[in-house]
Amino acid sequence: MCKKAALSRGVCAQVRAGPVFSATATRLTHTVEPDAFIELDKVSFAYGSRRILDGVSLRIARGKLAAIMGGSGSGKTTLLRLISGQVKPDSGRVWVDGQDVAKLNTAGLYAMRRRMGMLFQFGALFTDLSVQDNVAFPLREHTGLPDTMIRDLVLMKLQAVGLRGAAGLMPAELSGGMARRVALARAIALDPDLMLYDEPFTGLDPIALGTIAALIKRLNDALGATAVMVTHDVHVSLNVVDEVYFVADGKIVASGTPDQVRHSADPFVRQFVDGQPDGPVRLHYPAEDYASQLGLGGRHG
């Protein structure tokens, strides 16, 4: 029923209350490794007829900080959307803490998300709320805490991202990098068990970048949270993460610990780590032959 893609996409996603399977029933049919917090098993996903992910499998242990790297448009954000249950795989399974995300009903999905924080690639701050109300939003919605306590928690989160002074500003008054730091403060407001960061370092100056990288590391170590971080910043992230996955052509093409990555001879990995323009990763979106599209084909030789 929801195949009618062009029409009413959003409504369809919201109105559809997923099939009712209990989490316990699914757990019986699948023995998740005891330490795996996130597990993708041969996940394939397409937007319409365009295949984005094609049989992706990965396993991230509880408490680990994993990085996902890959070219622009390779499907990294899509991977996070699958983990958070915003889209469902066409085939394969996504498990988060032993639950099959695609089989959760709406209540189950929301229960899982209450323990999850997500930093969106473009921040996605609520434009009608001030910075402090944005950060307070999840606290007000999900805790019955008194206003004074919420205010203190908000100031602590904003202090952690270095923006306590911006508490009274509106999102329109922030720079791009500031907006993303506010979004980060909002994502960590409830001290989630699972953090999904979509490019947390984009648009940050070196000082802010170091601060945020340390914050992400500290959240993982101190709270024991599991985190998945999409990033392009190879050198900073190799210093903080526990493992790295490289995505290309819809597949995981390489993975390993930061040390393995640094010393890898894999051409994919080398191209990323050394930032070379030529290599297995193509910069260009698939297209017809450049010369022929410019009209310089065979005729003129």
């Binding site: 959003g10 109105v15 997500m118 609520f126």
Partner: protein, 262 residues
Amino acid sequence: MADSSSRNLFAAFGHRLIEAVWKLGFVCRFFAAILRDSGASLRRFPLVIREIYFAGVLSMIIIVVSGMFVGMVLGLQGYSTLVRFGSADALGALVALSLLRELGPVLAALLFASRSGSAITAEIGLMKATEQLDAMAVMAVNPIARVVAPRFWAGVLSMPVLAAIFNVMGIFGGYFVGVTLIGLDHGTFWSQMQNAVDWHTDIVNGLIKSLVFGAAVSLIAVFEGFDAKPTAEGVSSATTRTVVTSALTILALDFVLTAFMF
């Protein structure tokens, strides 16, 4: 040749028709979802109050001014027609009945659709385009309960009040033209009106009409916003669709309701 082009025309028409039926189906499911999730938002009534302020209170100026002018025009036109039949005394009744039964609910709803319906669509559409609705859902807050339902109920509750204000201002305008400018008798104007207006057939039915229009306009506005393509053009065409669809729906519903009521 002619055969294939007429077949194409037929196919295009069929395509549009199927799309329309699909969309109607989505609207119905969306409406069901709003009703299902309304409990939570009605319990947090401040959310609805806030939207009543944006949709209802801020529409007051246009409603007051338009109501006034419509009443004044009714006064002028009504007088020039009635005086030919020597029944200018009935001006009060004419103004009040036209407003209460038809013009109040219909015109107030048309104004509400273009002033507030379009704003609601644009706001929700932009929230969708900038991933704010996604972010909310990922924070385990249902956007239908938090964003859509309060705006829907604010529209439903505001509309009858706005229509009533429109009526009052219209009667006031008619009085101003009839009594103050033309010089009809003050007492006759009011007593004719009081005799002609029936509580149930005129006032209650008018209120029912504006409730129905309010629900229709609000549903169209929130649906178009939620369904907008998440781009600038998507939001702009959704806003246009809200105004056009609302206007047509109001007029069609008015016909149906009038046929049943009077």
